[in-house]
C-alpha cells in the first residue's frame, strides 16, 4: 500500500534523530562528570541521567515538527492530503513506540538509582496496581500516549504555522510564546492544584482532578493515583488533536 511505503520512508528519516539524541545525551553525561572540580561524583552523573528520556523526547518532537518536506514527498507521488495525514499519524505512532522503548530502559535504571520520587509518573501513579510488571506496563502506555499526544500537537502547530507566510509565522510564534509565559507565570505564583482551584472553585477541583488525572486528594485512603483516568483523558485529547491536525493538513499547499 502506498501509504505504508511512505511511512517507511518517513521512519527511515526519523532514525537519525535518535542518533542525535544519543550523542547529546552522552555529551551531557560527560560534561556533568567533567564539570565538577572535585573528584568524580556519582551524584552528578546520576542526576544528569534523569534528563536522558527528556532528551530523546525532545529530538522526537523536533523531527516531527519539521514537516513540509514530508508533505512534498507525499504530494509529488499523488498521495492526497488525507492519506498523508494518516501517514503522519502512523509515523508518530511508530516513533513514539521506538522512543518509549528506549526510554523504558533508562527509566528503569533511573528508578533503581533514585527511587520513586524522581520522575513525574513514578511518584504519582506507580504502585497503583500492586504489581511491578503491570505498573511498568501502564507506565509505558501512559508515556507512550503522552508523547504521541505531544507529537500530534507539535505537528499541529507546525502545520498551522506553515499555512502562513513569514510574517504570519512570526506573529503566531509570538502569540504562542506569550501564552507560554502567561501560563508559566500563573503556575509559578500558584501550584498546579491551586491554579485549578483559582479557576474552578474548591469543590469542583477535586472532582475534576480525579476525573481527568486520576488524582486523589486523600493520600491516606489512596496512596497511589489511578493512571487509567489520565490515559483516557489523553486519548480524548489525542482524538481532538488528530482532528485539528487533519483540518490543518487539508489546507497545506506547496510553496515555491
Amino acid at each position: 500500500m502506498r501509504t505504508k511505503e511512505l511511512v517507511k520512508m518517513y521512519v527511515k528519516e526519523f532514525l537519525p534523530f535518535l542518533e542525535y539524541a544519543l550523542i547529546v545525551s552522552v555529551v551531557l553525561l560527560l560534561f556533568s562528570v567533567l564539570e565538577s572540580e572535585q573528584k568524580f561524583r556519582l551524584n552528578d552523573f546520576q542526576n544528569q541521567f534523569i534528563s536522558i528520556p527528556y532528551i530523546f523526547d525532545f529530538f522526537a518532537l523536533l523531527c516531527v515538527s519539521m514537516n513540509h518536506n514530508r508533505f512534498k514527498l507525499a504530494i509529488q507521488h499523488g498521495i492526497d492530503r488525507k492519506d498523508f495525514w494518516k501517514a503522519k499519524l502512523m509515523l508518530m505512532a511508530k516513533a513514539s513506540l521506538v522512543v518509549n522503548v528506549i526510554n523504558l530502559v533508562f527509566v528503569l535504571i533511573i528508578m533503581k538509582m533514585h527511587g520513586m520520587n524522581s520522575l513525574a509518573y513514578t511518584s504519582t501513579y506507580f504502585g497503583f496496581f500492586h504489581s511491578y510488571f503491570i505498573d511498568v506496563i501502564f507506565m509505558f502506555i501512559t508515556d507512550y500516549i503522552a508523547l504521541l499526544l505531544l507529537m500530534v500537537c507539535v505537528n499541529c502547530f507546525g502545520t498551522f504555522a506553515s499555512l502562513f507566510n513569514r510574517y504570519g509565522k512570526i506573529c503566531f510564534y509570538l502569540i504562542l510564546a506569550a501564552m507560554y509565559f502567561f501560563v508559566g507565570s500563573i503556575l509559578a505564583k500558584y501550584s498546579v492544584v491551586a491554579s485549578f482551584t483559582h479557576f474552578l472553585g474548591r469543590i469542583h477541583t477535586e472532582v475534576f482532578l480525579n476525573l481527568v488525572f486520576g488524582l486523589y486528594e486523600n493520600q491516606k485512603l489512596h496512596p497511589y493515583s489511578n493512571p487509567i483516568h489520565i490515559i483516557i483523558s489523553m486519548l480524548i485529547m489525542l482524538a481532538i488533536a488528530a482532528a485539528f491536525n487533519l483540518l490543518f493538513t487539508k489546507l497545506v499547499q506547496v510553496k515555491r
Binding site: 514527498l73 507521488h77 499523488g78 492526497d80 506547496v254
Partner: protein, 288 residues
Amino acid sequence: MSKIEIKHLKKRFKFSKEPLFTDINITFEENQIYGLFGENGAGKSTLMSLIADYNFVTAGEVLYDGEPVHDNSKALQNIYYMSQNNMYNKNDKVKKIFDFVSKLYVDYDVELQNRLVKKFRLDESQKFNKLSTGYKSIVRIIISLCVPCKFIFMDEPTLGLDARNREVFYTSLIETYSENPRTFVLSTHIIEEIDQIINHFILLQDGEIKMDSSIDDISEKSYSISGPSEDVDKYIQGINVLDSDQLGRYKTVHFMDELPNREKPESVDIEKMKLQKLLIYVMEKEGK
C-alpha cells in the same frame, strides 16, 4: 477515455493586486501530446500545480472524469506533475530515490527506467544534491516517463539539458508515447524543438488561453506565401494578413486563414507558417 477539464479557473495569490488567471477553460484528453506555451511568468507552472492539487484555486474547477481533483485519490494517482522544484530528500542517492518511487507506484516501469539511465548516462550512485542542474532534471524526467499515470505534466523539461540529452529526451518521449500511449503536457517557451512532436497547441498569455488547437487545425490555417509582390498580392487579395516581409520585388506574407480559392500562380510558393512565427504574431497581436 479519461479527461481533465478546467472550468472558469481563477487564481489570485494572496497579497497580490491582480489575479494571475481570471477565466481559464481547457480540456486535456487522453493519449495526446500537448505543448503549453507562454512567456516566463505567464502562469504555466501555476496552472499545472493547480491541476495536480499542489495549490488551490481561487475560483473555478479542475475536474478529472467529472470529479474535482482536490483530495481525490483516484485522480491524483493518475496525474503526475514534474515541477522545477526539488521534492526529494537531497541527501539520498539517486538509486534510493528511484527505488522509493517504484514502490509507491504499482506499475512503475522499472525496465524503462534502467534503459533511460543508460541512455542518459546517469550515475545512480550519486547523491541527488551533488548532481548538476541538468542531471537533476534528468532524474525528474526519468521518473516522469516511468510512472504509470495517464496525465503527465512536465514543466520546462529540457531546461538545463545539453544538446545530446535533449535529443535523448525527445526520442525517449516519442518511444514511450508510441509504445504506451498516455497524455503528456509539455510546457516550454522553445517551440522549434517540439513543434513536430506535439499534436495539440495551447498558448497561455495575459492570464488567458489565447490559442487552443490541434496542430492539424493550425496547419490547415496558417501559411507563408512568397513570390513576386504583384503575384502574391493578387493571389491573397481579400485575406487578412498577419505580417509581410519585402525584399525588392520579392514579398513574403504570413496569414492565418484557409488558402484562397483562386488558382495559385506558378511564381508563388506556399509554405506552412512555422509555429514559432505564428506564436510570435499571436502573442504580439494579443499583447497590444
